[in-house]
C-alpha cells in the first residue's frame, strides 16, 4: 500500500513537473504576450495541480493535506482572475495580438520578425 502510494505520488510529481516545464519553455519561446499567457496557464493549472496532488499523496496528517488542497483551490481561483486582468490591461494599453490569419504557414514564418520564435498559426 505504501509502495503504491509512493509510485502514484512519484508519477504525479514527474508529470506535473513536465507540464510546468513545458509551460515555462512556452513563456520564453512564444511570440507575444497573449500566447505567453497560455504557457502561464499550463503552469498554474496542470503543473500546480499535479505537483500538489503528488504532495497530498505523501502527506501523513490530514491537516497537511487540507492545507495543500487549500493552496490548490486558491491557485485555481486566482490564476484566471489574474490572467483576465492582465489581458484587459494589455488590450486597453493597445498591445495588438499577433495575428497572421489568411496567410499560409510558411509565409507567416518567413516574414515573422520575432527572431527565431515560432510563428502563430
Amino acid at each position: 500500500m505504501a509502495l503504491a502510494l509512493d509510485i502514484a505520488s512519484w508519477a504525479c510529481l514527474v508529470i506535473g513537473t513536465v507540464f510546468a516545464l513545458i509551460g515555462a519553455v512556452g513563456i520564453v519561446r512564444l511570440p507575444d504576450v497573449y500566447s505567453r499567457m497560455h504557457g502561464a496557464g499550463m503552469i498554474d493549472t496542470l503543473g500546480a495541480a499535479l505537483i500538489l496532488l503528488g504532495l497530498i499523496l505523501q502527506s501523513e496528517h490530514w491537516l497537511v493535506a487540507a492545507k495543500l488542497v487549500l493552496i490548490g483551490v486558491f491557485l485555481f481561483f486566482t490564476s484566471p482572475t489574474t490572467t483576465f486582468a492582465l489581458a484587459r490591461a494589455a488590450l486597453n494599453a493597445g498591445v495588438k495580438p499577433l495575428i497572421t490569419a489568411g496567410k499560409a504557414r510558411g509565409a507567416a514564418a518567413s516574414d515573422s520578425t520575432e527572431g527565431g520564435g515560432p510563428s502563430s498559426s
Binding site: 515555462a24 503552469i43 500546480a48 486582468a85
Partner: protein
C-alpha cells in the same frame, strides 16, 4: 524525488525570470513575475516536504495570497497610474 522536483522548479523559475528581464512590454514582465510567484509557492511546498517540516505550507499559502494581490495591484497601477478608487469618467473607455 523531492530534490529532483525542487531542481526542476528552480530551472523553471530561471526561465520565467529570463522572460521577466527580457520581456518587450511591461505586461510580459508582469506575466513572468506572476508565474515566478506560482512556482515559488510550489517550491516552498516541495521544500517543506523535502526537509520534513510541514510548517512551510503556511508560508506557501500566504505567498499565494501575496502573489495574487501584488499582480492585481501592479496591473491596476500600470493601467490607471494610481491605486485608489475609480476617478469620474475613468472606466468609460474600458
Amino acid at each position: 524525488m523531492f530534490v529532483e522536483a525542487s531542481l526542476a522548479l528552480i530551472l523553471m523559475m530561471a526561465l520565467t525570470l529570463w522572460r521577466a528581464f527580457k520581456g518587450p512590454t511591461v505586461y510580459d514582465r508582469i506575466l513572468a513575475v506572476n508565474s515566478f510567484g506560482t512556482l515559488t509557492v510550489l517550491l516552498i511546498a516541495v521544500f517543506g516536504f523535502l526537509t520534513a517540516r510541514p510548517e512551510f505550507l503556511d508560508i506557501a499559502l500566504v505567498y499565494a495570497l501575496i502573489n495574487f494581490i501584488g499582480t492585481i495591484a501592479v496591473c491596476k497601477y500600470v493601467t490607471f497610474a494610481h491605486l485608489g478608487g475609480p476617478l469620474p469618467g475613468e472606466w468609460e473607455d474600458i
